[in-house]
């Protein structure tokens, strides 16, 4: 672990937040100043986040660049931040997309620019915080912090049905996250009662599992299932998994371009990330019971999202449903619990962030010119905007998973991992469910379906005769717009041809995640069962005494707040 980089994460969290404050101090109505500040701040954040790469040790598995400050001592809440191979690239994706999106938003946001920039920067802090926080409570706070600016983005700068969409978005998300909060409380109390240490610090809760062989077993089997279900609901809504997805098309259609980009590019990933970071390590037995069902929902989502996308006549809705399909690949890869599957899942998230972000940015550029998103209004755009069309084709192909572009690597690895999951899947996969191999085969049809709806969209917009009068005078990309697209397109190629450096940095963390998961599963899953399994009371007593000694050590490490009753 490299101690020198500890300052990076607090800085990239604080920068956008301070930037937001500063933006609110600029004069009202001076949109360009606010934009400039936003751009500078988010670019600075991006540059700072590149420092993460400098300090990050790609060969280590644990959390790095950690900082730890006690926030609420009596409750054992820590402001603990850290990053590992799983969150690393998601953090960079966030800091990369934010300035690009702000740059692209110059034209699409014209009212309340100052407030927009501020909300956007707060959103960035929220997302980054959720990715790097290592405390359940802090995670929850950031999780909810994201919600507010997004709500405002849709509700203030959105389209005609923005109120319906924004309320739908908030309610959907809240339903899930409140149950998650309940589960967090339950875990907190149970953990405190059994170990005597009341804390929400994630590493502590999960690590005691390893050191004591006891604490992650705090929850009996059924409680784990319920808690996992509560977390899973929150994350499944975020992903979104079928049938919890209907907030997404509405939110996308009504949100302004920058909102859509961030929503698809980053926010959805938090669902998958939550499963990896929280739900599965905390409740391994619950995960083992429910994972097959979630995997099936993911497969349904892959096919369903793609089929429904084909029926859309609104470009944004089409891309929104394509997200349902693509995130299904991420979910199925994750639940394959193979190294390649999980790395594929993370990689597919990165690629989806770039490609779908790019798709939405492009739609925004078209919308600024034509003020419509209906497919029927377009046709023959290639003739009018060849540069745009060419770049857009690359993004579309990246999204369709053309090998050599970013989308392929993630999809390939997820499917590959799922296909081979049957040999390694830790639980007894229920015999009445389709086997992982069959699920992978069904998911692979997404390759065909993706080509169908994406090329359908591409043809409707860019090919065909240029017969609509309004399309006759569309200017091609401006320099600013090229500056938005170029980094995306370059990265799509880089991720397609050179995935190895990215994957290599993930690998230790992913391997540790899987090993940890299997280790936990191998142990009995609850105090009651443990009593039975231990056999003689003496053996149990000895184990508990050993545990107590380790607890003391852990308490000392935590800085003395252990044992503090809430």
């Amino acid at each position: 672990m490299n101690p020198t980089g500890g300052f990076v994460l607090p800085v990239i969290l604080a920068l956008p937040l301070l930037g937001a404050l500063f933006v609110m101090l600029t004069p009202r109505g001076e949109g360009s100043i606010a934009r400039g500040v936003g751009l500078v701040v988010s670019t600075a954040t991006f540059v700072m986040s590149l420092l993460v790469l400098r300090y990050f040790d790609g060969k280590a598995a644990g959390y790095q660049l950690t900082t730890d400050a006690v926030w609420v001592k009596s409750l054992g809440i820590h402001m603990k931040l850290g990053i590992d191979g799983i969150s690393l690239w998601l953090v960079l994706l966030t800091t990369f997309l934010t300035p690009l999106t702000l740059l692209a938003a110059t034209k699409s946001i014209e009212k309340h620019v100052r407030e927009f920039v501020a909300a956007f920067l707060v959103l960035e802090t929220g997302m980054l915080g959720a990715f790097v926080s290592l405390d359940l409570f802090v995670f929850y706070v950031f999780w909810e912090v994201m919600l507010i600016p997004m709500y405002l983005l849709i509700g203030i700068w959105g389209g005609q049905r923005r109120l319906y969409a924004s309320i739908k978005f908030v309610l959907y998300t809240m339903v899930g996250s409140l149950l998650m909060l309940v589960a967090i409380f339950y875990l907190y109390v149970q953990h405190g009662q059994v170990t005597g240490i009341y804390t929400t610090e994630l590493t502590h809760i999960t690590e005691t599992g390893q050191t004591l062989g006891l604490a992650h077993l705090v929850l009996p089997h059924d409680a784990q299932v319920w808690c996992f279900a509560a977390f899973a609901l929150a994350f499944a809504i975020k992903i979104p998994l079928f049938p919890l997805h209907t907030w997404l098309p509405d939110a996308h259609v009504e949100a302004p371009t920058p909102g859509s980009v961030i929503l698809a590019g980053v926010l959805l990933k938090l669902g998958i990330y939550g499963f990896i970071r929280l739900a599965m390590p905390l409740f391994p037995h619950g995960a083992a019971v429910l994972a097959p069902y979630i995997a099936i929902l993911a497969v349904v989502g892959i096919v369903y999202g793609a089929v429904v996308a084909f029926a859309q006549d609104d470009v944004k809705k089409l891309v929104a449903y394509s997200s349902v399909s693509h995130l299904g690949f991420c979910a199925i890869g994750l639940f394959s619990l193979t190294v390649s599957g999980i790395e594929g899942s993370i990689y597919a998230m990165l690629s989806h962030g770039l490609t779908t972000g790019g798709l939405f940015l492009g739609i925004g550029m078209l919308y600024e010119r034509r003020h419509t998103r209906r497919l029927a209004e377009y046709g023959g755009i290639w003739k009018q905007m060849p540069v745009f069309s060419g770049l857009y084709l690359i993004i579309v192909m990246g999204s369709a998973g053309l090998p050599g572009l970013s989308g392929f690597v993630g999809e390939f690895l997820s499917l590959f991992g799922t296909f081979n999951a049957g040999d390694t899947f830790p639980t007894n996969w229920p015999h009445y469910l389709p086997s992982p191999r069959l699920l992978a085969a069904i998911s692979t049809t997404g390759v065909i379906l993706g080509a169908i709806y994406l090329l359908f969209m591409f043809q409707k917009v860019f090919f065909g005769p240029l017969d609509k009068a309004k399309n006759g005078h569309l200017p091609d990309l401006s320099i600013r717009e090229k500056a938005v697209f170029l980094p995306l397109v370059v990265l799509i190629f880089v991720l397609g041809f050179f995935p190895r450096p990215f994957l290599a940095k993930m690998e230790p963390s992913v391997k540790a995640f899987i090993a940890d998961y299997h280790e936990k599963l191998a142990e009995p899953d609850g105090p009651a069962r443990m009593m039975n399994a231990e056999g003689s009371p003496d053996a149990l007593k000895a184990k508990l005494e050993g545990a107590a000694a380790k607890l003391d050590a852990a308490a000392a490490r935590l800085g003395g707040n252990a044992g503090g009753q809430p």
Partner: protein
């Protein structure tokens, strides 16, 4: 494994050319554009040539000298592409006999077609884009061919699909052309889906074996050789894994190489510029499937089932496509179906384990079919873009070079003796005749041979029909195009080169029964032996007499087809044909002309249902069930509750009082609404137990009185809800009174009053009546 340097240059040069032309194409002059493009592919060809005759030949000598150890080939490892867990895929190229032949064919044909395009496309406004795509295609095709593992091959595999999409839809303003491009991509993707699954299956079977952690061809081959049992895994439907993987991969090949049932995109692909059809949809890309099957010969060799599938599908395709070609009236459509049919021949070749014959035909076909397309382009160029053969005829007068070269190609494809097509087609036919693999029915090989011979007859007929209709007879298009003209030298030059090759290329694969020795022998038997180094040898026995007989049959069949065509079309369309198609042959003619209605069938069976499914799912499942009923429904229920409570709590005292009254009424009703009291009884030791059931609500707290003596009045002292009586003390009628002790048990007149009463006739159980007689029972019952 030996390595080679600069192999990457071969695909890189065209890719770099594509990059330049796509980025800068608009700003460059036409000369610069086509100079870049042509130079890139030509340089690529010469690099390939150098690598083959230089390093590869040298390595071959060394390998032979060292006793032919291991697989022969040269590798170049560029970088590790994907590494995750135990999967490690290198971006690596491999030059071996098979890929060396392929890269030479690809770069050579590509160079010629690039040169040809400078003439054919000279008026095209999007000149840079055209050459950019063409270069990109060449680069992708070279990656496909050179890739040393399956995923790298897949990069090229999908890359050529993309270029095909772009070039078919090159004139995208025509909606039908754009749709044709999309159709090609989607149908190819169906194949790619199977390709991916086949790849996963292979990995599943082989990973971890001998430390294998990639999908490298050589590694897969070594595993197959060292552990043949791996492919014997029982799999779905009790079929062996080799068959499952082989068939899946063949579906992928069928998508790319336009075989049944996925061939439908290829005829539509004629929407693209003609040089594109020549390069992509005849000479190179569509042969990728054949190449892949030959490349995976070790896999197919271990499953005769998969081989049977490959060869039967190939033969059926050859027949069906030849049939569809009969009645086409568009020059390029005839050639398109001919391509489908010839690809079927190649699949029979590789499907019968006759790998080199498949590749041999692939090569000769590349020459004569590219030539045919380019010739067709030249004709259309001279006919101001029209490809309708009904308005042609007698063009030999106007286009002598095009005509002569076209004649040569037609000879070759018809299998005229000693032309290239004669040798390669004969190899396939002979292989089919001799094929008798384990598990195959004995007649299968012969059946394939019959099917192919019929298809060959058809080929000779429709190709020569085409030739006669276009070049012989009288010119019929005077009112459409007044002065057809010959094409410029940059178009006819490539035609002549290809014609030369179509004539002589067959001499590197003459049948083995023809003994030649020395250098001539090296050349004459070069190709089968060379390809054999890369493929798994299959046994094939054919007596020399049979071989000669088959050669003779093939020649006769070819000549027969040509003769038939001459009889019917030699001097323009004959009346006989019209009479036949209008009379007895009408059904056949319509079937051929409408391509067996396959497109319509697919439209009916897949396209429309899918569209309906998408719309229906969206409207019913997404909008109605999930969004309206569940999501907004939940919101509606919530708001319903809130509306009710809002109405109640509006602050008016009167409304609250109404609530109080109704509430109180509800309480009273609830507490007293039901029930008639009842009681039950049963025999217990010591007597009969009576159990009062006064009812719910308030009555559950009420007191009870009993009448056991049957006088209709409560018996004094009998107040317990559960009473045990001796049978003798009980009358035949028992009454239960429910009384309210608080309000009094008698009315003002002193009559007993009760809230309710119930009287029942009691049947005394026989056993219980005797109970008191036995002391044991009595003592067990306790005090009565």
């Amino acid at each position: 494994m030996d390595t080679v340097k600069f192999l990457w240059v071969v695909p890189f040069l065209p890719l770099a050319g594509a990059f330049l032309n796509l980025i800068l194409g608009k700003r460059l002059s036409r000369q610069t554009v086509h100079f870049i493009a042509v130079a890139a592919v030509a340089a690529s060809f010469f690099t390939a040539l150098y690598l083959v005759v230089g390093p590869l030949r040298e390595a071959y000598g060394v390998w032979k000298h060292d006793g032919r150890q291991g697989a022969f080939g040269l590798d170049e490892h560029l970088w590790t592409w994907i590494q995750a867990g135990d999967l490690k895929l290198d971006l690596a190229f491999r030059l071996d006999p098979l890929s060396s032949v392929m890269i030479l064919i690809v770069t050579f044909c590509s160079t010629l077609i690039h040169i040809y395009s400078t003439g054919y496309m000279e008026h095209e406004p999007r000149y840079g884009a055209y050459f950019g795509y063409l270069n990109l295609f060449t680069g992708a095709m070279l990656i496909l061919v050179l890739g040393s593992n399956m995923p790298v091959m897949f990069i090229g595999w999908e890359g050529v699909g993309l270029c095909s999409f772009l070039l078919i839809g090159f004139w995208y303003e025509n909606e039908a052309y754009a749709t044709a491009g999309r159709k090609a991509f989607v149908v190819n993707r169906i194949g790619d889906f199977a390709f991916l699954l086949g790849m996963f299956l292979l990995w599943w079977a082989t990973h971890g074996v001998d430390g294998g952690k990639s999908l490298d061809f050589v590694m897969l081959r070594d595993v197959a050789t060292a552990h043949p049992d791996i492919y014997e895994h029982k799999f779905w439907f009790d079929e062996r894994l080799a068959a499952a993987a082989g068939i899946l991969l063949f579906i992928g090949a069928a998508g790319k190489s336009a075989q049944l049932p996925l061939y439908v995109w290829l005829p539509d692909a004629m929407a693209g510029p003609t040089p594109v059809s020549a390069l992509i949809h005849a000479a190179t890309m569509v042969t990728a499937g054949v190449y892949m099957v030959a490349r995976l010969s070790f896999l197919f060799a271990s499953s005769t089932t998969a081989m049977a599938v490959v060869s039967i599908v190939g033969a059926l395709t050859a027949l069906a496509a030849a049939f569809m070609a009969f009645a086409q009236t568009d020059l390029k459509k005839v050639l398109a179906y001919s391509t489908v049919s010839q690809l079927g021949f190649m699949f029979v070749g590789v499907g019968t384990g006759n790998w080199s014959a498949g590749v041999f035909h692939l090569m000769t076909h590349a020459f004569f079919k590219a030539g045919l397309f380019l010739g067709a382009g030249s004709v259309m160029h001279g006919m101001e873009g029209s490809g309708d053969i009904r308005i042609m005829g007698g063009l030999k007068k106007y286009m002598p070079i095009t005509r002569i070269t076209f004649l040569i190609y037609c000879l070759a494809i018809a299998g005229f003796p000693l032309t290239s097509g004669f040798f390669s087609k004969d190899e396939i036919l002979a292989g089919a005749w001799a094929a008798n693999h384990d598990g195959w029915p004995v007649f299968l090989g012969k059946l394939l041979w019959v099917m192919l011979t019929v298809a060959a007859l058809g080929t000779a007929f429709y190709m020569w029909r085409l030739y006669f209709l276009v070049f012989e007879g009288k010119y019929r298009g005077a009112e459409h195009v007044e002065h057809p003209h010959e094409s410029p030298i940059n178009m006819t030059g490539p035609l002549m080169v290809l014609a030369f090759l179509a004539l002589v290329a067959g001499f590197i694969g003459i049948p083995h029964v023809i003994h030649v020795s020395g250098t001539l022998g090296d050349i004459g038997h070069f190709l089968p032996e060379w390809i054999g180094l890369s493929t798994k040898p299959m046994e094939m026995h054919l007596a020399s007499g049979t071989t000669y007989a088959l050669l003779g049959t093939a020649s006769v069949v070819g000549l027969l087809g040509i003769g038939l065509a001459y009889a019917l079309y030699g001097k323009g369309p004959s009346k006989l044909v019209d009479r036949f198609t209008a009379g007895p042959g009408k059904g056949l003619y319509e079937a051929s002309k409408n391509k067996l209605w396959v497109d319509e069938g697919y439209d009916f069976a897949f396209v429309r249902p899918f569209r309906a499914l998408a719309r229906g799912t969206f409207a019913i499942v997404d909008r109605f069930i999930i969004d309206t009923v569940l999501v907004n429904g939940a919101g509606f229920v919530m708001s319903l509750f809130s509306r009710v409570s809002r109405w109640v709590q509006n602050g008016q005292v009167q409304r609250y009082l109404v609530g109080v009254v109704f509430g109180a009424a509800l309480i009273f009703w609830w507490t007293s609404h039901d029930d008639h009291p009842s009681f039950s009884y049963k025999a217990v030791p010591g007597g009969i137990e009576f159990r009062a059931e006064p009812g719910h609500g308030l009555r559950s707290g009420a007191a009870v009185r009993w009448d056991f003596d049957g006088d209709g009045q409560p018996d004094p002292g009998e107040t317990a809800p559960v009473v045990i009586k001796r049978p003798g003390d009980v009358a035949s009628r028992v009454t239960l009174f429910v009384v309210d002790p608080v309000w009094g048990e008698t009315d003002k007149q002193g009559k007993p009053k009760s809230l309710a009463r119930v009287t029942r006739r009691v049947k005394l159980p026989a056993a219980s009546t005797e109970a008191p007689a036995t002391p044991a029972a009595s003592s067990a019952g306790g005090e009565p």
